[in-house]
């Protein structure tokens, strides 16, 4: 599960300089290859900025999967029945598996897994903001599995049309597994929506809590996001944040309304003239505050990862062969 790549102004500043320093002949060849719809493989020449942006993007995606397992995992011990417990465990395991696939894809670009984990633990690398919010009730896990995964599928399906071979291949596998998550999530939501008044109320509460983070999920509006013409041309970024948000609203608002749930935004409506959804400002200051570390669960999420790395260290050490040498994975 993952939101969208956030491009900051400072990224663009660095990059203008770097691209000019690239070998112009190789750059032309590289761009022509992408233009023809061919994929780039790890052993190909690529511009420094392409590599850098992809590492950042795939790494953030991997961190999001591994941290994303935590909010839902909160409820494994208290799932309402055995079938739901098994399903939730399978889903959480899938997310951790996705992290493994993505770390491997990012690694083909030259950053080691240990470096990526170090950057996660030190706070240097980000992960999807939405996982810094708590899952307060069982209904929260249902909303996450349905709507957050729906958002993730939109994002990942979009990215799977990208130009970098290892990332595209990992995403194909991931999207396929996510389709189970979506079905499972929708089933859990429908079960509560068709349940007792208390179950319905619990579901509505969860939707109220998660709506804002879900609106944040695809990243800041295009007006606040830097123009990323080069990332688009290189097929690193394939849709803008607002395009994906609109697609999500188109697909899921009717389904939410069908269940008789209220979306906590009185201004949410589709403008019949423009064909676009209009909504209240979902408080982008909060988005930036949380991404910079001040969300309800940021500290806990990182503490859990740190604890896991630290407590697992003796096992990794015991298994390690002294002859092992590091090689970048092939593909």
């Amino acid at each position: 599960m993952y939101g969208n790549l956030v491009v900051r102004p400072e990224d663009i500043e660095n990059w203008g300089k770097k691209v000019e320093q690239e070998d112009p002949e190789k750059l032309v060849e590289f761009e022509a290859r992408i233009e023809r719809g061919e994929k780039i493989e790890p052993w190909d020449w690529m511009p420094f900025e392409y590599r850098r942006q992809l590492i950042r993007m795939i790494e953030q995606h991997a961190h999001s999967e591994i941290i994303g397992a935590l909010p839902e995992g909160t409820w494994i011990t208290r799932a309402p029945n055995f079938r739901r417990k098994l399903a939730l465990m399978a889903k959480v395991q899938d997310e951790v598996g996705h992290a493994q696939l993505l770390y491997s894809a990012a690694e083909t670009l030259g950053k080691t897994r240990e470096q990526m984990i170090n950057d996660l633990l030190s706070g240097k690398s980000k992960y999807s903001n939405i996982f810094n919010y708590p899952a307060k009730t069982w209904a929260d896990t249902a909303i996450i599995a349905w709507l957050v995964d729906a958002g993730a599928i939109i994002n990942q399906t979009t990215n799977s049309r990208g130009s970098y071979g290892p990332y595209v291949r990992a995403l194909e596998r991931i999207c396929w597994e996510e389709s189970f998550h979506l079905k499972y999530g929708y089933d859990s939501v429908v079960y509560l929506a068709t349940g007792t008044p208390r179950q319905r109320a619990m579901l509505q509460d969860a939707l109220n809590r998660w709506w804002r983070p879900i609106m944040h999920f695809f990243g800041p509006p295009d007006t606040q996001s830097v123009h990323t013409e080069k990332l688009v041309r290189w097929k690193v970024k394939l849709a803008t944040n607002d395009e994906m948000r609109q697609q999500f609203l188109d697909m899921y608002v009717p389904k939410i309304w069908e269940l008789g749930l209220t979306i906590p935004d009185p201004n949410l409506r589709k403008n019949p003239e423009t064909g676009r959804w209009e909504y209240s400002d979902p408080d982008w200051d909060e988005f930036w505050r949380v991404i910079n570390g001040d969300g309800p669960c940021n500290k806990e999420r990182l503490a859990v990862r740190r604890f896991a790395e630290e407590k697992g260290r003796w096992v990794r050490e015991a298994l390690r062969s002294p002859q092992a040498q590091y090689v970048t994975p092939l593909a």
Partner: protein, 127 residues
């Protein structure tokens, strides 16, 4: 805020006292490439890579990571370091530089035509 997760509550307060940790090189071991044969009779295909301390564990992890729902009849792991591959620059050598239809079935499409055209040169058969 106290954690809502009972598993995490059990790890407290030690969880909060864990100092920031830094992983050194190779702490997550080395890399293996994974090949998967989907059905009997098909080729094993490369599906990705993983980290493992030795080939046996690589195989266990490959099963977890690459065969979660799909069926599979055999799984191979190979240390990445053991693989020798061609480079992008060498890609050109796989493109035929000159006309090599002489070694392809498409190079022999006119045989029947010739036979019809020059049939009169063939002496009539005795049987």
């Amino acid at each position: 805020m106290a954690s809502l997760d009972p598993r995490i509550q059990r790890a407290e307060p030690e969880l909060w006292q864990t100092p920031n940790t830094t992983l050194g090189p190779l702490e997550h071991w080395t890399t293996y490439e994974v090949f998967l044969q989907k059905t009997r009779g098909s080729h094993a295909q490369h599906v990705g890579s993983l980290h493992a301390p030795d080939p046996e564990i690589a195989l266990i992890l490959a099963k977890e990571q690459y065969t979660r729902r799909s069926s599979c009849v055999s799984l191979w792991v190979v240390p990445t370091v053991c693989i020798l591959k061609t480079t992008t620059e060498e890609e050109g050598m796989f493109q035929p530089a000159v006309d090599k239809t002489y070694r392809e079935p498409q190079g022999y499409l006119n045989t029947r035509e010739r036979l019809e055209k020059y049939r009169h040169r063939i002496p009539s058969s005795s049987c």
